[in-house]
Symmetry: C2
Subunit: 411 residues, 2 copies
């Protein structure tokens, strides 16, 4: 059994849906039981969201989820009709019908259980099964959505629950690259990356896969194959790190322009304050990235961190409230930044990589404003306008486009 | 408590949705508990249907229903968001969430039960409740649709189940008229019609209300008020026949161009044959209208009847199959016809009305091809091209536009 997931561009119009139907039928003919997860057609979801915002500046989360799930419902039933018309029995299921049970966090719900009874029954009856991505039913019996890119998570979670051989994610790019090919033309497609590297790449702004879907795949050991729905070329496998990967140092470089920087000045240097601040942010359900605190002076410190621009207004309001309690002076917002990250399993054993990355940026005259490192990633916050130049410089510095030292080349 | 239903043109865009939200809020402020039933925005359903037909010439009925129900889901959640934004708590429910249980006849499901637990709970919590029209959940737990105009039935059925005071049907016309005002400019809006008259008008091509919703209203004694969503004028009440109506003879004249005529020639004049023919048509779920059989000659008869043009191809195939069994020669199809009907509670006690209608058509040189009468209706099948002229002639003959003899005038 395999799970295939098709993104919005892959089902953007009836012509594309028919072509996806052909691909799905091909997998069925090749002997697989096939479960297909679909996103909404093209920019349907954005269109629905725009109407909602026009009517309600702060839309009610439960109602918004009911609205947004209409997109996948349309795509899944059209795909099912197209597969049926091609002569293969098919049946489509909403998230709720497919037994995808989530928590009650509307707009960013987490899958907490999958009860695939109806899907298994439909498969046994010989059907190709289509499932609406991005959605589930909460424990309170309400319709929920999993957040942007949630269809990837639906696919991986179904693959895990059904014990599928692997999960194919069909998208509008051919796989995972050493850098965004639109910025770095000589970027190369990777044959394979480990879950950990893919996690860091996703967190660093590579938009190929939703971060949570990679976490889910790692936790449940689901083999994921990211590939293009526009041709038959193999894409990138995301799996356990294995022997073949051992020699690789750097997987790729990514830039993220979707975050803004918040700096809190003059935070009293007492225990519990940072915890209170970030607890308040977490309660808003917003992700925080790259928390940096400088050395305190006069018993006060500056704390900077990144948040998604989409959450900025909300979090800024939280800051106003929380900081008052702690007597911190104020917070500053800077949304003209970019985060450039270098990711590779070899970084932990090659400390020189960090210095070389800084050198690459310095050579370009690019100022580094914040630094954060993990064992397999180095991230630098720079001015937004320097982002593409930085990616090109780092990509070139490590020779990622060529068949050069330390670069993985299994293709 | 009241139930309001808004049709597709009433929620065609975000501006219209906002205006509906205002009207709903007004009813809430006037002290009512409000349940709102919505159709899909504008021509959303037609757009979905067109995509489905492009992908699958004979779409699978279960999948098609999943697709089509997306339209009402979008409209209901947007309306709920708009009402919330206006400061009134609101919650929206799909047909399945609202407990609308149907049989399993996809595309033309019948409501068999309403379990309004969640709706009542939401009302108790002070919410305005929005329900998606046109849809339900079958006893097999699949999503179903109720057929064209099914939202009217949803509204009336909910009004009955909830014991609502009345059911307001908001539409793009101001009420029920003595004739279609686009054809007869002097047509008058009726203040009230009985369920029976409305049934006949709906069956005669007046498109104000879905036929089944009127049947449902009559069976359950639901008072229905059909009115415009574009202004505050009172519309037409559909209720029990009462004393005020006693003097009325004619309610209106309607034309229906949506049907085609099937004529079966040389049907053996034996018992059971007509039953077999119309059993086969009924098994297809198609409605049959105006069955007329002439006097048999040589042991054979001709049978004519009307069917919706939309079902014509399907029924024609059934005829081919059934007629072979009975040795009937063949069936002829004529889709260039119109049915013109005169409806009025007084027809039964005023036999001259029938003759006067025929005279009105004869005066215009319009040939009558089939006749069918009930106690409160006379219908004539004529050439499609004569339809508008016939309506104007009959309307004038009975002085329906003026304050003339026999015409109801309660306004």
């Amino acid at each position: 059994m395999i799970v295939q997931k098709y993104g919005g561009t892959s089902v953007a119009d009836t012509g594309r849906i028919r072509s996806v139907a052909g691909r799905v039928a091909g997998a069925k003919q090749a002997g697989y039981d096939v479960v297909v997860v679909v996103s909404a057609m093209g920019d349907t979801t954005d269109g629905l969201l725009a109407m909602a915002e026009e009517l309600a500046p702060s839309p009610n989360a439960r109602e918004l989820d009911l609205l947004l799930t209409a997109g996948e419902r349309i795509a899944m039933s059209l795909l099912s009709l197209a597969i049926n018309a091609a002569g293969y029995p098919a049946a489509s299921y909403t998230g709720s019908q497919a037994g995808i049970i989530t928590d009650t966090a509307h707009g960013r719900a987490k899958i907490i259980d999958i009860r695939p009874g109806r899907i298994l029954q439909a498969l046994e009856q010989g059907n190709i099964v289509i499932v609406a991505g991005f959605q589930g039913m909460s424990t309170a019996l309400d319709v929920t959505t999993l957040g942007r890119g949630g269809s990837d998570t639906t696919a991986v979670a179904l693959a895990a629950a059904l014990g599928a051989e692997f999960c194919e994610i069909y998208t509008d790019v051919p796989g995972v690259f050493t850098a965004d090919p639109r910025i770095v033309p000589e970027a190369r497609k990777l044959h394979a990356v480990s879950y950990e590297e893919m996690l860091e790449l996703a967190a660093s702004g590579a938009k190929v896969l939703q971060l949570r879907s990679v976490e889910y795949a790692r936790t449940h050991g689901v083999k994921v194959h990211v590939r293009s729905s526009f041709n038959d070329d193999p894409g990138t496998w995301i799996t356990e790190e294995d022997v073949r990967m051992e020699q690789a140092i750097i997987s790729g470089v990514a830039a993220d322009n979707s975050e803004a920087k918040i700096t809190i000045e003059d935070v009293p240097d007492r225990p519990g304050i940072a915890a209170a601040i970030f607890r308040a942010v977490a309660d808003e359900g917003a992700g925080v990235d790259m928390i940096v605190q400088n050395v305190g002076r006069d018993g006060k410190a500056d704390v900077s961190f990144l948040v998604p621009k989409a959450d900025l207004r909300r979090i800024s309001a939280v800051m106003d409230r929380v900081l008052k309690e702690f007597g911190a002076a104020r917070h500053l917002i800077d949304d003209d930044i970019a985060k450039v990250s270098l990711v590779g399993a070899g970084i932990k054993s090659h400390p020189a990589v960090v210095a070389e990355m800084f050198a690459a940026l310095a050579d370009e005259g690019i100022n580094i404003e914040m630094i954060s490192t993990s064992s397999i990633r180095v991230s630098c916050v720079i001015r937004a306008g320097d982002s593409e130049r930085a990616v090109r410089a780092v990509h070139a510095k490590f020779g990622l486009g060529e068949d050069a030292r330390g670069v993985r080349d299994h293709e």
